[in-house]
């Protein structure tokens, strides 16, 4: 009996050694002769990348093509990690639960919309992963979700479960509803209407969450005791408080929409007081004023490149925000916050070279490895390294050039966007639309 098993095992091992490496046609690809910008491991001027079953197997020169694999010739082109957008709102059925100020139970992960055509737009700009977020209408919005841009796949296959759980907070004008006109007979203005109110309501909710956690701790202790009291009932389970409890336990991290330095510091103060982690501040036009504090507290930022002053609280924004903070040791990412800007995220990152003097690689990091770290997925994406997932974009010029464009976008070894194919399809569709209908008038 044992002998048989040993024999079987031996033959299996021998077979495995003789047989070519097994891979499925899906998720496997060899990209040849491109200039590879790995982001974390330097540049290879003429190199190949082999992806097998969705994972980067090998990066090097003259990798022999396994039989039957799809081969892409990237001669003269730039091969880079798939871009990551650290803050957007695409692919969702609804962005804000704006009826109330505190809605941590309203989870955008529950309303992913895989039909949103913005996914295709993102792919056309080389973006393979997004952090799609609850809107900024509430001091405490709701949990966000990280998606891969697998256009055409069912919604559940888009969700990246390895990512950090994040909770959206927001401060400033959106939260205090500065732009809202109050009408007679209409709904009354919502609390809070000021920045101090915003800070106070967040503190109030954190205190409530603490009491909630204590209630459950007390109950669990009593229940586990040798003589639990008669008629012992558990506390009511409150989904709102459950999310905040997870934040206070460190199972969820905060991502906070803000503009001004003062409110950012106040929020960081709240985080310190209640012991929760601020993973990154969003937009933060005045981050340059508090770069040292951000670096010391290990709080990242996710910002725009140069579109400030569109409202009062953005008045003191500067184009040097990202570059300056990056040089000060702050973990910086550039985000789109939009289903349109997402297709030219690379242009936005490139601006940090002119304003802020970042190197090509530092600028590229703002939309690859840096957002990957902010989302807690740097072990699987964000750079081209053996063992990471095969999320790759191919550009015709250096991605930080003003003349560049994305030619192909690959996720886990599968092509999701191919500009040549796409243009061909469009041309044919146009031809069809223009052709006179059979039997109809010319």
């Amino acid at each position: 009996m044992n002998k048989t098993i040993t024999n079987l095992l031996t033959s299996a091992i021998v077979l495995a050694l003789i047989a070519p490496p097994a891979f499925s046609a899906e998720g496997s690809i060899l990209i040849k002769n491109g200039t590879i910008l790995t982001v974390t491991k330097g540049v290879m001027v003429k190199g190949d990348i082999l992806v097998i079953n969705g994972v980067i197997k090998q990066i090097g020169e003259n990798i022999p093509a396994p039989e039957g694999i799809k081969v892409i010739d990237a001669s003269g082109k730039y091969v880079i990690p798939g871009l990551i957008d650290s803050h957007t709102h695409i692919a969702l059925a609804g962005t804000n639960e704006g009826s109330e100020a505190i809605t941590p139970e309203a989870d955008v992960g529950e309303v992913v919309n895989a039909d949103d055509v913005s996914i295709l737009t993102a792919l056309s700009g080389g973006v393979t992963m997004v952090h799609t977020m609850h809107g900024s209408s509430n001091p405490i919005g709701g949990p966000n979700v990280v998606l891969k841009m697998k256009w055409g796949k069912p919604s559940e296959e888009l969700i990246v479960h390895e990512a950090l759980r994040t909770l959206k907070f927001a401060l400033g004008e959106n939260v205090k509803q500065s732009s809202r006109t109050i009408t007679v007979g209409g709904p009354p203005p919502r609390y809070p209407q000021t920045r101090m109110g915003t800070n106070a309501i967040i503190r109030r909710e954190m205190l409530k969450a603490r009491v909630y956690m204590e209630e459950w701790d007390r109950y669990n202790k009593l229940k586990a005791s040798k003589t639990p009291p008669k008629n012992l009932l558990p506390p009511r389970k409150d989904l709102r408080m459950e999310v905040l409890s997870d934040l206070l336990r460190g199972k969820i991290v905060a991502r906070c929409h803000d503009y001004q330095a003062t409110e950012a510091l106040e929020f960081m103060g709240l985080a310190k007081e209640f012991g929760f982690k601020v993973q990154a501040l969003e937009h933060t036009w005045e981050a340059y004023k508090i770069a040292d504090e951000l670096a010391a507290a290990k709080v990242g930022i996710s910002v725009f490149a140069d579109s400030w002053a569109y409202k009062m609280e953005a008045a003191e924004g500067i184009a040097y925000d990202a570059g300056y903070c990056a040089k000060k040791g702050v973990l910086v990412s550039i985000n789109s916050d939009s289903g349109e800007r997402i297709r030219r995220l690379f242009n936005e990152a490139g601006k940090s070279m002119k304003y802020g003097g970042l190197t090509e690689n530092e600028a590229l990091s703002l939309i690859t490895i840096n957002p990957a770290i902010q989302l807690g997925v740097e072990k699987i994406v964000g750079s081209l390294e053996v063992g990471k997932q095969g999320d790759i974009a191919i550009f015709n010029e250096h991605p930080m050039s003003a003349y560049t464009r994305c030619e192909m976008t690959i996720i886990e070894g599968d092509i999701y966007f191919d500009r040549a194919e796409y243009l061909k399809d469009r041309e044919e569709a146009d031809k069809k639309a223009q052709a006179p209908k059979k039997g109809g008038r010319p």
């Binding site: 059925a93 139970e105 309203a106 529950e110 709701g142 069912p154 009511r236």
Partner: protein, 428 residues
């Protein structure tokens, strides 16, 4: 009996009929439908048969030479006609009172915003559709004309909308029509402006919290009932009280799923709370048969083929939307049948019988077999609604909802010749 006496009696009967309405659930005469082709749905067809109706029930069915026609029966010569069981639509908003008028300012009433997920300013699980019924002959005629004799009527406002009632369309008075009340709790993934929840994600959280609260409420009440003495009584809550039978006692919950994602969202919640659920609307079920193959949750598939606003067929221009409505969505049922997925068809979203028939024909044209269509409107919904002892096929002992057609049911030129509801011949 003299002639005058007889006409006097006839007059009396007429008077009673006139007072109680021509087609109440009162016991009708005994009928013998003779020489019809009979399609019982659950068994083989009888080419030349007799069907006896007595006391509102089917008394006997069989070939012409095997069934004796009772002496007191009114014989209906049905040579050239086909008898089918009355059709069942397992989800409608028919016969409901018109929605409340808007206020004098022309804007909907302002609803005070809720303060927390446990506040429910506009949710009504306790609402019974029965209380909103306002049957009209025109509405009933419209459905009886195409052979639909039984409908599930659900309330249609809000997220947790209330409880449905099952009706036999036998008249304009509500009580005699009721087969079962309440039947199911109805849920729609919608949201309202200005009040909580105002977004789909809020709605999902609200549903979860409501079910959790109902569970908790039931546990507290049960504990209290056990001890009574020495425990503070839990506060009475009509909202949660109405939910308990559905969350704890597994009475049926019907989720209205307007797109594919709604189906998945419902399946997730159903699994989480171990609900005894059905999925309705579901006109995007065809988009992911794999998901539906894995679940035993019954599908109540609408014959309304308008694609949902979220659909990629709607967002890319009017041409594509029209094509989707005319060609893609009508194939929903056919695609499900091809995958071996069982379903009932409903008229949900369609209030006009003629439109329903047109859409049944479109579904058949798109590949659904006539047999499958018939089952999906008879025995299948009967099974899903727990009515299989009473309805869904022509069998002795079942309720006499019988239709006689000239030509095969659902064919273009076919018309429904006679309709019996609860054994009473309907007069159009």
């Amino acid at each position: 009996m003299s002639i005058s006496k007889r006409s006097c009696l006839f007059g009396l009967v007429f008077l009673i009929l006139a007072v109680s309405g021509p087609a109440s659930a009162d016991v009708g005469p005994t009928y013998a439908i003779k020489n019809a082709k009979i399609v019982p749905v659950t068994g083989p067809a009888i080419d030349k048969g007799v069907l006896i109706i007595r006391n509102g029930l089917i008394e006997a069915i069989g070939p012409v030479d095997k069934v004796t026609i009772p002496e007191d029966a009114e014989v209906i010569e049905a040579e050239g006609l086909i008898a089918y069981p009355g059709l069942i639509s397992a989800h409608t908003n028919l016969l409901l009172e018109a929605p409340r008028a808007e206020t004098s300012q022309g804007s909907p009433e302002f609803i005070a915003p809720a303060a927390a997920p446990q506040d429910r300013p506009s949710e009504t699980p306790e609402l019974c559709a029965f209380k909103l019924l306002k049957p009209t002959k025109a509405a009933i005629d419209s459905f009886l004309k195409i052979g639909v004799t039984t409908v599930l009527v659900a309330p249609n406002r809000g997220i947790i909308q209330g409880q449905s009632v099952l009706l036999n369309l036998n008249g304009e008075k509500a009580e005699p029509m009721v087969l079962k009340n309440p039947v199911a709790l109805h849920i729609n993934f919608t949201s309202a402006r200005g009040t909580y929840p105002s977004s789909l994600m809020g709605t999902i959280a609200f549903l979860r919290q409501s079910f959790l609260d109902a569970d908790y409420y039931a546990a507290c009440q049960a504990q209290y009932q056990k001890v009574l003495k020495g425990m503070k009584r839990p506060e009475y809550d009509p909202f949660l009280e109405a939910l308990v039978p559905y969350v704890k006692e597994k009475k049926p919950v019907i989720f209205q799923c307007n797109n594919l994602e709604d189906i998945k969202r419902a399946l997730k919640i159903i699994d989480e709370f171990k609900l005894n659920a059905l999925i309705s609307h579901a006109n995007e079920a065809w988009r992911d048969a794999a998901v539906l193959k894995k679940t035993p949750i019954p599908l109540l598939v609408t014959l309304d083929f308008r694609p949902p606003n979220s659909s990629r067929y709607v967002n890319q221009g009017e041409d594509l939307r029209k094509k989707a409505e005319a060609e893609i969505y009508p194939a929903n049922a056919a695609n499900l049948a091809k995958e071996g997925i069982k379903f009932a068809l409903t008229t949900f979203g369609l209030n006009d019988g003629a439109a329903v028939l047109k859409n049944i024909q479109a579904a058949i044209k798109a590949g659904l077999s006539k047999e499958e269509a018939l089952k999906a409107l008879t025995i299948q919904p009967a099974q899903y609604l727990g009515l299989v002892q009473q309805l869904g096929s022509l069998e002795p002992g079942k309720i006499a909802n019988v239709i006689l057609t000239k030509g095969e049911l659902f064919d273009e030129k076919t018309r429904v010749d006679k309709v019996f509801v609860d054994g009473v011949l309907w007069k159009f």
